[in-house]
């Protein structure tokens, strides 16, 4: 493998890790050539044209613009090639296909809390099967953090106030570092964990061993009643509130005429800022749950409402 020829560089272990490594190798090669050329010229000129060395120094500034145009366009072309290369790999990394395994990640000072859909919870570690993309839905409870797995060549900031999704996939089983890369206060450097990539069978076994009494959706269902959501959104409610069965993933017409898709972000926003996106045909009656519900509870509610997607409305 060509990658072994780059010293100190452990290969990337995500499907596109190789592409990033190849890009890095390309950048290294291009830079080394330029730097090598520069050092060669510097040394050459320094020796050859040192004061007192009798060499020809005649007519030294003729036609300088030939050179200028030459090296300007050469650097421009090389830079543009590098831009296109970097951008195309980037677009590959940040594609977000729908419908694969999804896992919730809540970042807070100074830990990573991971919630699998089955209710398995972890702190500062994330178990995942190899060769299967996993969609992370990430939220921060306080400041900006950044989810960084060097072995997967992947990083994404976790900004408070929004869900951010990120697709990760590993091709080799093993334990990898998980770092917080955005400075987040006192114990920033302690906010580290590990990614445990496992063979699918081991992963299934792990999920089984860790399975809690209740799945996330069931816990979400309990919260749904506890917070009184069912009082209005329930089937027998006297309040005119939109039903949530079969809602997830569908387009929702809003009162202002626009249409949004009922995804994680929409549901989260509707709980926290209910009056910002009111469904068409309903009154803005719902109170905000901002400050009343934690990120952990929020994601359970989201999973619960998601689980209602298959129910007929």
């Amino acid at each position: 493998m060509w990658r072994e020829w780059i010293p100190f560089w452990k290969p990337g272990l995500s499907p596109y890790g190789g592409d990033v490594d190849l890009l890095f190798a390309g950048l290294l090669l291009a830079s080394s050539l330029v730097l090598g050329l520069l050092i060669f010229l510097l040394l050459l000129f320094c020796v050859r044209y040192r004061a007192g060395n009798p060499v020809d120094r005649g007519n030294h500034d003729s036609k300088s613009w030939h050179w200028e145009v030459g090296w300007t366009s050469a650097s421009l072309v090389i830079f543009l090639l590098l831009f296109v290369w970097g951008a195309s790999v980037f677009l590959e990394i940040y594609r977000t296909p729908q419908g694969e395994l999804s896992v919730f990640v809540v970042a807070k000072q100074w830990m990573w809390k991971v919630q699998h859909t089955g209710g398995q919870a972890e702190i500062n570690s994330l178990h995942m099967p190899v060769h299967r993309p996993m969609r992370l839905v990430m939220a921060s409870q306080d400041v900006i953090h950044s989810f960084f797995v060097p072995a997967l060549r992947l990083k994404h900031d976790v900004v408070p106030g929004r869900y951010q999704s990120l697709e990760i996939e590993a091709v080799t089983a093993g334990h990898y570092h998980l770092f917080c890369a955005e400075y987040c206060g006192t114990d920033h450097s302690g906010m580290i964990g590990e990614i445990v990539a496992m063979e699918p069978a081991d992963y299934a076994k792990w999920l089984n061993d860790q399975a809690p009494a209740n799945s996330l959706a069931r816990e979400g269902g309990a919260l749904f009643r506890e917070f009184g959501c069912s009082g209005c959104h329930g089937a027998n409610s006297s309040v005119h509130a939109p039903p949530l069965e079969g809602l997830y993933g569908k387009p929702v017409p809003l009162a202002d005429g626009s249409i949004v898709t009922a995804d994680d972000k929409y549901i989260r926003d509707s709980i926290l800022l209910p009056r910002s996106q009111v469904a068409a045909g309903y009154q803005p009656l719902m109170p905000s749950f901002e400050g009343k519900v934690s990120e952990d509870q929020l994601l359970r509610l989201v999973v619960y409402i998601k689980s209602l997607a298959d129910h007929a409305p």
């Binding site: 800022l273 009056r275 803005p284 905000s288």
Partner: protein
């Protein structure tokens, strides 16, 4: 330094010095423009995110005072422009009178602004101190009023500086009307007009959004 020269040694002539001062104030105004530019950028980002809240919040501003203040500032700018002309024509007393008029209008602007602030305080519209707003749009409205207070108070600070500069010039003009003061007055006038122009932009962004059209 050659004795008796009325200008600093780095200049070749009085005119040379005055030209430098004029370029200087234009560069300074470019700085000022970017200062307010950053603020306006924040305003537009949030207005784009919360159009309804910004319109609703804007309807809670006092358009009567706002309009009056706009008229007052425009008039004061007119007086300052006349003062520059008067001084160039050698009418020093008229120039001073015009400057005093402009300063009084400036003070009137500030006191109206203070009244407006007091009114907003009573209506619980001051974020961080006593903000309350009808819930659906409260968040956006709080952003609006935060930016409103930051922008108008920075503008008011500029007004105070402007008034102080005009006052200093008026006092110096009572004694003499040197060419140096003439150039200084032109520079100060540019600054005054700039602060005026900023207000016109702020007026449109603060008082009008909720009131135009629908």
């Amino acid at each position: 330094m050659p004795e008796g020269r009325g200008f600093a040694p780095q200049y070749a002539s009085v005119q040379h010095r005055d030209e430098a001062a004029e370029i200087g104030i234009w560069v300074f105004l470019a700085t000022e423009l970017l200062l307010f530019g950053g603020l306006l950028f924040a305003y537009f980002v949030y207005r784009h995110a919360n159009p309804a809240a910004f319109a609703a919040a804007s309807r809670h501003t006092d358009i009567v005072i706002g309009t009056a203040n706009t008229a007052i500032l425009l008039t004061s700018s007119f007086l300052v422009a006349c003062a520059v002309d008067a001084l160039q024509a050698g009418a020093r007393r008229i120039c001073i009178m015009l400057l005093i008029g402009a300063m009084l209008l400036g003070l009137l602007f500030l006191s109206l602004k203070a009244t407006e602030y007091a009114g907003e305080y009573h209506e619980h519209l001051v974020p961080g101190i006593n903000f309350s707003f009808a819930p659906p749009l409260a968040d956006g409205a709080e952003l609006f009023f935060t930016i409103y207070f930051v922008a108008t108070s920075i503008h008011a600070i500029h007004m105070m500086i402007g008034i102080a500069v005009l006052a200093a010039l008026a006092i110096m003009l009572r004694r003499t009307a040197s060419t140096r003061l003439c150039a200084a007055l032109r520079t100060a006038a540019l600054y005054w007009h700039f602060v005026d122009a900023i207000w016109i932009v702020l007026f449109a962004l603060i008082y009008l959004p909720g009131r135009s059209g629908a």
